[in-house]
């Protein structure tokens, strides 16, 4: 990045500790203008805490953070004037009706009603909620609430949009609608910062991402680059039946670059999956089913953050 083009978000050794617990433990990253940047990680990895520090509503323990050149702790209101925030849990104003939620939120930014009235209608259209404009918030479905939260985050035409797990809990149609809307925002020059644990979402939306685990950055790069660096081109999935998977694994040693026995299947990471499958068959092993597929971000994610359940 040339010097004339400073990053819009710059974090350097950013940390947040709650007592002995290190929610965020010295992470550093830069996001240039217009990029779509993802924070990937399991639950409790520190993604939301990082988002809250960017928004200036959580104070960091140490490290440096600037948003558009300003420290969000020192200049919270000014920084947030250019931020749109979609929190993990919808925090719509239940005491107000749908359209009033947008108008009142716009007034928090000090925006005039002459701007807000047409803008609110435009955003209701964008979120496909025009017919619900006079409804009470608690009468909306989960997907509608999510869309309203996203519409609300756009009321101030933000330059940076923070999305904390934007599509969690939505059905596939709603997710695709949302992705389309987010993609359009990205095209119009908005910088997107996104946390997710859906790998397809990250591959769809992110130019670049970091994988975070236990408050630290485990890997960084574009989705394609991460797959290249941390996985093989293809993955061979073999099923021998749940009793045999682990015992067979020993006989599969040496095939492909890496082998991972799971309770329900065995994964063989290889540059050429078909070739690996031929080797398996030539050793006289007969899997019940076999599948060759491209490596995905999910393989990278699970490799970097482990397969054990994290709560």
């Amino acid at each position: 990045m040339p010097l004339s083009d400073p990053p819009v978000i710059s974090a350097h050794r950013l940390s947040k500790h709650y007592g002995d617990f290190h929610a965020v433990d010295g992470i550093s990253f830069d996001v240039p203008a217009g990029e779509s940047f993802g924070l990937l990680g399991p639950n409790g990895a520190g993604k939301s805490t990082t988002m809250r520090m960017i928004g200036g509503v959580s104070q960091r323990t140490s490290g440096e953070l600037t948003i558009m050149g300003l420290d969000p702790e020192e200049h919270g209101p000014e920084v947030r004037a250019h931020l749109g925030v979609v929190p993990q849990q919808d925090n719509l104003d239940e005491e107000l009706r749908v359209r009033d939620n947008l108008l009142v939120y716009g007034r928090y930014f000090g925006l005039p009603m002459s701007y807000l009235r047409p803008k609110a209608d435009e955003l209701l259209e964008f979120a496909q909620l025009t017919e619900k404009s006079g409804a009470k918030v608690d009468a909306l479905s989960g997907g509608m609430k999510r869309r309203l939260t996203i519409a609300r985050s756009l009321i101030n035409e933000p330059k940076i949009l923070l999305l904390d797990e934007p599509t969690t809990g939505l059905d596939p149609q709603a997710r695709h609608v949302l992705w389309d809307r987010l993609f359009r925002l990205k095209e119009s020059g908005v910088t997107l910062i996104l946390t997710t644990h859906y790998m397809d979402e990250a591959e769809q939306l992110c130019d670049r991402l970091v994988v975070v685990d236990k408050g630290r950055i485990m890997a960084e790069g574009s989705p394609a680059q991460l797959i290249r660096d941390h996985s093989t081109r293809e993955v061979l999935e073999l099923r021998f039946g749940s009793e045999r998977n682990t015992t067979v694994a020993a006989e599969l040693q040496g095939i492909g670059e890496r082998l991972e026995p799971l309770p329900d299947r065995v994964l063989i990471y290889a540059r050429d999956g078909e070739e690996a499958l031929e080797q398996v068959i030539s050793r006289g092993l007969k899997p019940v089913t076999s599948l060759v597929r491209r490596s995905s971000l999910e393989d990278v994610f699970l490799r970097l953050t482990g397969r054990s359940l994290i709560d």
Partner: protein
């Protein structure tokens, strides 16, 4: 959705105004939100807050008053028992309303409705939210005080137009309690701790010379009561109700001005603890 941002749009100038990190001079947006929310949902809450002191006045003033008869007023003249306790009940109502709004209400909106979480992701700073909420509490208090004073007039308990000053003065009393209450809420983490607030308010209500003069207590207890804010509120409104002023009037008023100053300072210092974690 059509704006094409250029990279130059992404550089901000920082304000050097004092409190810029906490305050964006937009408390009116918080007030506007509160009025809109009240209009659409909270009608019943408003009504119940009005009736509480009125019911006390009817039962104690008229009922108990029939047994008690006339008592000595602030200027030494005899007044009816109802006229004696009415200003005190107004002070209590100012206190209860302000404390409820600045403690329970703030605590709930903070921790359960997540209302402030949404507000604080906008240009609003925590001081905007605090000022807006306190203003709303005072507005409500002013409405109650006006309603209660009207009831007093209808019951024939007002003998002087000066008594109308009780309305603005009870707002000052409410301001003292609200500014302090919000600062105190910043120390609260659980509902159990919030119960302590009631534990303090109830005895203060009963023993602050509300229903009988302070002189019934031994000297030591009198001093203790005189240190508490409600006693100053009761005495202040009682003096105003019969237009009987003394140097003590200024002391009572000064007590609340000081309480407001200290309360606002405490609240401002605790804003990050209250709203940002």
């Amino acid at each position: 959705m059509s704006s094409q941002l250029s990279r130059q749009d992404y550089a901000l100038e920082g304000s050097t105004r004092p409190l810029a990190a906490l305050y964006s001079r937009n408390a009116r947006a918080v007030i506007a939100r509160g009025l809109l929310a009240t209009r659409s949902s909270n009608g019943l809450v408003l009504v119940s807050g009005f009736f509480e002191p009125v019911l006390y006045l009817l039962s104690m003033g008229i009922g108990l008053g029939a047994l008690v008869g006339d008592v000595e007023g602030p200027n030494g003249q005899p007044i009816s028992y109802a006229a004696y306790i009415a200003p005190a009940l107004l002070a209590v109502s100012a206190m209860n309303g302000a404390v409820y709004d600045s403690t329970w209400n703030v605590f709930f909106k903070m921790n359960f409705a997540k209302l402030y979480q949404g507000m604080l992701y906008t240009s609003l700073g925590p001081l905007d939210v605090a000022i807006g909420e306190i203003f709303l509490a005072l507005l409500r208090g002013a409405l109650y005080a006006a309603g209660f004073t009207t009831v007093m007039a209808l019951m024939g308990l007002l003998t002087t137009p000066v008594a109308l000053l009780m309305v603005p003065v009870s707002v000052i009393i409410a301001f003292g309690f609200a500014s302090f209450g919000m600062g105190i809420t910043s120390f609260m983490k659980t509902f159990q701790q919030m119960e302590w607030v009631n534990f303090v308010l109830l005895p203060m209500f009963l023993f602050s010379a509300t229903f009988y003069p302070l002189s019934v207590y031994p000297q030591g207890i009198q001093w203790f009561i005189q240190a508490l804010p409600l006693w100053h509120g009761v005495e202040l409104l009682r003096q105003i109700s019969v237009a009987s002023f003394s140097p003590a009037t200024l002391v009572h008023l000064g007590y609340f001005l000081l309480m407001i100053a200290v309360g606002m300072l405490l609240t401002t210092l605790r804003l990050r603890k209250l709203f940002l974690k």
